[in-house]
Each structure stands twice: as structure tokens, then as C-alpha cells.
């Protein structure tokens, strides 16, 4: 059972008295062969236990069927969810994925991209922030980004503005006296900034008292806890007796806030309403289910890969599509109403 030499088209050809070309055709255009020939070859393949070698095929026809992925990190569930959904598009498109995690290091991300390019990837999905879309565009391959600056490249994003708007509307609907949005300081160029403006616009349009609190959240759970405890203290001083609707930039943060309140009061006080973002497991699995602006991760991934594939195909026949302006697809978020706004009793 030791490393038996690999069987190639040559071996099959010799064995069947066909030429290599015919064997190749068996795989790429079987209908052009006589049925009888197909049978002969098929049997020979089985008998000799042939295993295909896609590397050789790539070198010959230039199509790797590789798509590169650069993720910024793996801490937030959002990214593992997205990756999961991206990987599952293999079933529909057949592309394989080479994955790198950037960890916010510009230099290593450049190295990763070089490495990906050297493997002749046909396209790339970029979720990390460190490298500008301008630089990405120069790579001259189809690129689609998600949740990051995207001026020079195609992208697929949740309608963050709509999400922020709906979150505010939901809190308003439940009669909150003041709306609070907690977020980390965010670059206006990244799509997630829309959550802030959406929130603000709703409040302004409806003349609601509101406040956006920029805090350095999302660094670590412990820091987030400290920050949120501080915020609770502030809120209870500033808006004592008023109903506070809090919209947080993600579900994990929302859950942390909820836990703090639960620890303090043993339940979610009537004068608090909470909305998260993402519809990640953290929102469903919280001590009481948290209302949230759900990102349709499956659709995001599907569209992103679809967009890359579309460009790849366009390229293969001239380049009618790629040289045009970048396409930016938008996926509607889905508002999920749960106990953290609807009230615990209503929920069960």
C-alpha cells in the first residue's frame, strides 16, 4: 500500500488505446465521445483508480476556481457566521476558498493578498478594513467587500441606515421617553455608520429626545462591562423616571447591558427597552430574548459570492462588466421583535 505512482491521462490513454485528448474530453465534453468509448474510458478510470489533478488543469486553462477571503478577526460571531455562509456557497458555485484572518495588521494583510494572488485566485472577498479600496482595485481581479469602505470596489452590505431607523422606530413605538444609541467611534466611510445616522434621522424627524454615546466598546468583555455600568449610572441620573430606549451597536453588547440590569434589578426594569444589532445567537440566547436588527447573513454571503462570480464570468468573455462603476448591493435588515422591547410577559 505504499505511495503507488499517480495515474495520469497518459496511463489511461495507453491502457485504452485512446489519446490523452480523448481522455481529457471524457471529463470536459463527454458527449463528443462515442458512447462505447465513454464506457471503455470509464471502466479504465475505475480499474486504474484514477484521481484527478486540478493543479495541472489550472496551469493549462488558468482557472483555479479559488476565491480569496480576508477577514478582519474572528471574535465577533458575525464573521464566523459570514464565513460559514460563504463556504456553503460551494454547493452552488463550486468555488473553493482560501481564508486569511488579518488581525488588523496592514503589513500581513498585504502579504496575504500577495500569497492569494500567487495562487491565481479568480476573485476576492474582503471584510477587513486596513487596506483601502483604491489599493484593492489595483489588483485587477474581481473584488467584493462587506462592511467596510468600498468606493473603488463592489460591495454587499446590510442597509445599516434602515436598520438604525427601524431600531429607533421600535423604541419609539414602545413609548420610550428618550432614545440612546451606544456605539464605538465609527468612521463615516464604513457602512455601519449608517446605523447612527438612521437612528438620528428617525429621532429628529419625530422630534424625539435622543443621544448618541460614542464609547470605546468592543475591545473586551470586561471593558465593555465597565463602560456599560458607567452608562447605566449616567442614564439613571440623567433620565431618572423616564423610559429609556437603548439601541446598541451589536447583540453581544446588548446582552451585556441586559445582564448588568438583570444583576442589578433581578429583571429588566419597565423603564428600559433594549435593541441590538445582527440577530446573532447572542440575542436569542440572552437571559431574555433581545429585539434586534437582523442582518440576513445568508443573503449577504450569497450576494457577495454571486457578485464575484458574475464578474469572473464577465471577464472570461471580454470584460464588459468589470470596467464599469463598482456595484453596491444592499440587503434589507429584518427587525426582530423580542422580549427586550415587547415586555417579558407578552413574549411567552
Amino acid at each position: 500500500m505504499e505511495a503507488k505512482k499517480k495515474i495520469t491521462f497518459d496511463d489511461i490513454a495507453r491502457y485504452t488505446n485512446f489519446s490523452k485528448t480523448t481522455i481529457s474530453r471524457y471529463f470536459n465534453n463527454p458527449d463528443s465521445l462515442a458512447p462505447e468509448s465513454q464506457r471503455i474510458i470509464s471502466e479504465a478510470l475505475a480499474k486504474l483508480d484514477y484521481k484527478e489533478n486540478k493543479v495541472a488543469r489550472i496551469l493549462a486553462n488558468g482557472q483555479t476556481e479559488f476565491i480569496g477571503i480576508i477577514l478582519p478577526e474572528f471574535y465577533h460571531r458575525f464573521f464566523s457566521e459570514v464565513l460559514n455562509q460563504i463556504l456553503s456557497t460551494y454547493e452552488t458555485y463550486g468555488y473553493k476558498f482560501l481564508v486569511f484572518v488579518g488581525n488588523r495588521n496592514e503589513e500581513s494583510e498585504r502579504r496575504y493578498i500577495q500569497e492569494l494572488m500567487s495562487y491565481q485566485i479568480e476573485g476576492m472577498l474582503v471584510l477587513s478594513h486596513t487596506i483601502s479600496s483604491e489599493e484593492l482595485a489595483q489588483l485587477q481581479i474581481p473584488i467584493v467587500t462587506m462592511e467596510r469602505e468600498d468606493r473603488q470596489v463592489c460591495s454587499v452590505n446590510t442597509d445599516n441606515y434602515s436598520g438604525g431607523y427601524q431600531a429607533a422606530a421600535l423604541l419609539d413605538e414602545h413609548g420610550c421617553d428618550v432614545l440612546i444609541h451606544i456605539n464605538s467611534p465609527t468612521d463615516p466611510q464604513i457602512p455601519a455608520y449608517g446605523r447612527i445616522t438612521g437612528f438620528q434621522d428617525y429621532c429628529k424627524e419625530h422630534g424625539l429626545r435622543h443621544e448618541v454615546m460614542f464609547r470605546p466598546v468592543d475591545r473586551s468583555h470586561e471593558e465593555d462591562q465597565a463602560i456599560l455600568e458607567d452608562i447605566i449610572a449616567t442614564l439613571e441620573e440623567q433620565y431618572q423616571g423616564q423610559k429609556k430606549g437603548v439601541f446598541l451597536s451589536n447583540d453581544t453588547l446588548a446582552s451585556t447591558l441586559l445582564n448588568l440590569l438583570f444583576r442589578k434589578y433581578g429583571h429588566l426594569p419597565e423603564d428600559y427597552r433594549i435593541v441590538g444589532f445582527d440577530n446573532s445567537p447572542a440575542s436569542r440566547e440572552a437571559i431574555i430574548p433581545i429585539s434586534t436588527v437582523g442582518q440576513q447573513v445568508d443573503k449577504l454571503a450569497q450576494e457577495a459570492v454571486g457578485l464575484v462570480v458574475e464578474q469572473i464570468n464577465a471577464r472570461k468573455e471580454g470584460r464588459p462588466l468589470h470596467s464599469r462603476k463598482p456595484v453596491h448591493k444592499i440587503i434589507e435588515p429584518v427587525l426582530v421583535r423580542r422580549a427586550s422591547t415587547e415586555g417579558w410577559t407578552e413574549e411567552r
Copy 2:
């Protein structure tokens, strides 16, 4: 800026008046070149903007530097954590990873493996259960598994037995009257079964009253909740007034139990102590921090990739290592004491 033809060694050779061979050497064995030649080539590469093509190199030397990964799913944080750590070994070993998620489907996993083989992967990491180690071994490439049946292949695993043992010891230490272990029905062949036997052995050795409850957990959060509510009812009937030490098979489950108790009592009652498994974010971010048997995911991943690479290298020089018996590495778990056993007041 349109698809300029790709620069190859041929172009560099022509430009510098060296041969292709010399250019190749510049990359693979630069010291064998005259310093002056190195400079000339280096400049030419920059001037012509050469980009390497690893596909061609693979075809020529047979080394893809690819390792295949088959994950069972992405729902449990454990797997995204492991994947993250595996991917990060790129920095030390330079291997690239082709990732597939099996989703418990035997047929598609076989297809994935064929696909991986066709890309000439040099080794494979398998975390999914569906395909027997016997079948894996027949692939004739270095394989390392984690957290699954591993009789015919190498593996890296947490010492689950020790983990179960320590969990029981921790609960005992805090004076629990009865120890409960909640787990899904588990195949004795997979390493995680050790958690059960470790737990049982400690209890038996120390003459402790104990019980293992096999329930179909880990299917969905809602089902888990229902199951755990049921268990709480049972426990409170059966062990009323006694201090119950509950060891759950993972942190998410532990957190769900904790949440249910918190909702019922507004705090963790004195007659409950809880221990999880994994030391995943779920345990730190729970409403009160949960004690847990920590898997050293970074080490698991490091060792797993290391073991594959070791075998790959052994293969390159004859095959002294691979034909021997499978190696099974064990990583010690780390017991993490937190509020769910130590008591809330002690913790702060």
C-alpha cells in the same frame, strides 16, 4: 491599465540575459548566484513588476503547501475558535488552508475530500465525525483529527477525562451534596466521552452521590431551554434542599441553565453550583461568570498543524514516520474558577 500580460521567468530571463534556471534559482537558492547577478535580477523583477505563480511551481515540484480542513459545523464557538487558531499557524508554518464544512452529511464530506485531494493537499485536519478513521487512513496523506474517533489516524485532543474529573472535584470542593452531569448521548469512541467517565470516576472514588443525565441537547437553543427547564424541575423535586453541583457538556448549555435559574430566582441560588466546558466566550460573558473546564484551543490547533507538518516533512525524506502507529497527543485542560462555583460575592 488593462490586463497586461503576466510576466514570467522567461521575460525576466530575456530582460537580464540570464536563463530561466537562473531566475528560478534567485528565488529558491539565491546564495548560489553571484551577488551582482542577484542585484540585476532583483531590479528586473521590480522593473517588470513580476508576480510569482505558485500554481506552476506546484505542478513542477509537487508541493502545494495546502492543508485541507473538514469542520462538522460552525454553530458551536469551539469550531470557529479552532479554525481561527489553525489559520493563524500560517505565520509559523506557511501552509494555506482549504476549508469545508460538512454539516453532518457523509456524501458531501466524501465529495469535499475528493475535491481536496484533487488540489493535491499535502495533509488534512478532520474535525467532523461522519467518516471513519479507517477510510481517512486510506487516503495515504498525513491526517490529524480532533475531537472524534481516531483509531487509525493521528489526533490531538483535550484530556477530556481529566476535565470531567476536575469538574467533579471542583463541585465536590464546594460541598455539593449531589453531582449532576448533563450531556447528549455520546459515542464512547469519541474523546468527549471521557468527560463522562472522568466525572463518574471522581464521584465513585469519593463516594459521592451523582447522576449522569443524557438528554438530546445541542440541537437548538429553544429545545435546550425546554430540556433544562425540565431538568430543573426534576432536580428540585428529587434533591430538594440539597446542594446540587451541575456539570454541563459545554459553556453555552451552562449559560442557558444559569439564565433559567436567574430568571426563576433573580440570582443563582446557594444550592446550585455550575461548571461548563470549553472556556468559550459564553462562559465569561454569562450573567455571572461561569466556572469551566478550559480547552486550550491555541495549543490544540498548534499541535494539530504541527503534527501534520511533521508527517509531511517525514514523507519528503523517505517515509520513516508515517507508516508507524498513529500518534495521539493530549492537551491538558485548564480549570477556570469563576463565580458560578465560587459564589457571587467572593468573585468581585
